[in-house]
Amino acid sequence: MRPPVTHINLLQRTAPRHTAAWALAALLALSVVGTVVYGSRLRSQAQEAMHRRDDMAQQLKQVQARLAIQNGEQVKSATAVALRKEVDALQPQAQVAQALIDAVRNAEGGRTDEFARPLAAMTGLNEPGLWLTALTLSASGKRLELQGQASNGASVLRYARRANESLQSLTLHLDSLELQPATGVAAPGASNGMVSFRLY
């Protein structure tokens, strides 16, 4: 392999070089340019950060407004849920009332006077955890029979005692009681000790 050959060129710089001065000037120029570039970049970054901050504040406001709306809706919806629960709780009683109405309509060929007084006496009684499912008047109003359900047997006994007190003026008396574990629809909140009863 042949070594590289040196070539001649007499065309050279004619002006003095001032290398150090040029180097310093270049360094200064570079520093100035660098500072300007860095400063402008810093300024743009600061502006960008401010814009981001404003955007975030705007977004925060929107989220807060949305949350307020949602809270209101949640309150409304909580009220609706509570109402719904109350409605559901009242549903068995409404069914019982409907059953009573149906029973009344069907009872004894529409002799309402004989039926009205014992019914008024019975509906005046209120025993928590007990409700009637049937009321039967027979023997021309001389015999009354009540059927219903209760959360426990003690309620039935208390109801029977109070019913006899109310029926005393009507010369009616309930002296027989049949109790058995309930198999029908249970009232909301009722325990497993539900019983159905027949009082006559």
Partner: protein, 316 residues
């Protein structure tokens, strides 16, 4: 030192030989197996070859202006000398050479342009003091020439010398391991360059105006030829003693402006192989039939052609 590097080629203008301008465009970007392609050659007479801007402008119309321009100087316009290489780091070489030259007293530090190239002996003769070629030209003169060239629309990227142009041709003709002598004649004299591995090791120039040889009778002409042969043999002897690693066994004689019998004389009297230079060995002359057919034009264009080989890849 290596200004104006390019791989495409060069347009070389030699305006300093006699009273004619010569320009060649050479494409060096060729395949490895191909020779550099001579695109154009033009020689033009000029009353004052140095500063004839109109002739120079006219010359440029006939060459490839897309290639970078290289100018070659005449022998009287620069000084080439061998110096001891200062024992300084490479980066301080230029300053050190300037200082050495200024102490010789022929020029001040700031008045000359300086270029240099080593005479490589460090591999073959590591204990021998290193030497180099230093080339100087007067800065003011070169500035004036550059201004004149610019007025003619010529903006050279390189200013080169004749010895390195001839060295490039000799380097292209070398066989591996040999030292080669290239003898070339121009209007003012006969030059010799001795090369090895493409580098210049020795140069000689015998001032012998062509007009004198032309006018001489047969006996005088033989004496003139003997003078050249003697100088050649002495130079080969110097080479043998100074650079024993490059035996010169072959002398190549370049085409002369006129056939005055130098080649025949040397072939007959030298105990070495003497060959005529065939430019077809170095260049592809297919596009310039005028050059291929004219020895006189080849002699005139030898320096610009050699200078244009600057970026050519030469096989080892």
């Amino acid at each position: 030192m290596e200004f104006g590097i390019n791989r495409k080629g060069w347009t070389v203008i030699d305006c300093c030989d006699g009273s004619s301008l010569c320009a060649v465009s050479l494409k060096t970007a060729v395949r490895t197996s191909e020779r550099p392609l001579v695109l154009s050659v033009v020689e033009q007479a000029a009353e004052s070859a140095d500063l004839d801007a109109a002739a120079l402008r006219d010359l440029m119309a006939h060459v490839d202006r897309s290639l970078p321009i290289l100018m070659t100087l005449g022998r009287t316009q620069y000084r080439l000398r061998v110096m001891s290489e200062p024992a300084v780091p490479q980066r301080e070489m230029h300053s050190s050479l300037r200082w050495s030259l200024s102490t010789e007293g022929d020029s001040s530090l700031e008045e000359v342009n300086l270029a240099w190239m080593r005479i490589p002996t460090e591999d073959q003769l590591p204990s021998r003091p290193r030497q180099l070629y230093a080339v100087t030209t007067t800065k003011a003169w070169l500035a004036a020439r550059l201004a004149a060239w610019r007025q003619a629309g010529v903006r050279p990227k390189v200013v080169d010398i004749r010895e390195t142009a001839l060295r490039n041709i000799a380097g292209a003709l070398e066989r591996p391991g040999e030292g080669l002598a290239l003898v070339s004649a121009d209007a003012e004299g006969v030059g010799m360059v001795f090369t090895h591995q493409g580098s210049l090791y020795l140069d000689r120039y015998i001032e012998q105006p062509l007009a004198e040889v032309r006018a001489a009778d047969a006996a005088t002409r033989i004496r003139l030829h003997e003078r050249i042969a003697l100088q050649l043999m002495r130079s080969i002897d110097v080479i043998g003693r100074s650079y024993p690693f490059m035996p010169v066994t072959r002398v190549v004689v370049a085409p002369a402006p006129e056939a005055l019998g130098l080649l025949e004389f040397l072939t007959e009297h030298l105990p070495l192989t003497v060959e005529p230079l065939d430019l077809n060995q170095v260049f592809d002359l297919g596009k310039v039939p005028a050059l291929a057919q004219s020895s006189a034009l080849q002699a005139r264009c030898l320096v610009p052609l050699g200078a244009a080989l600057r970026s050519a890849k030469v096989a080892a």
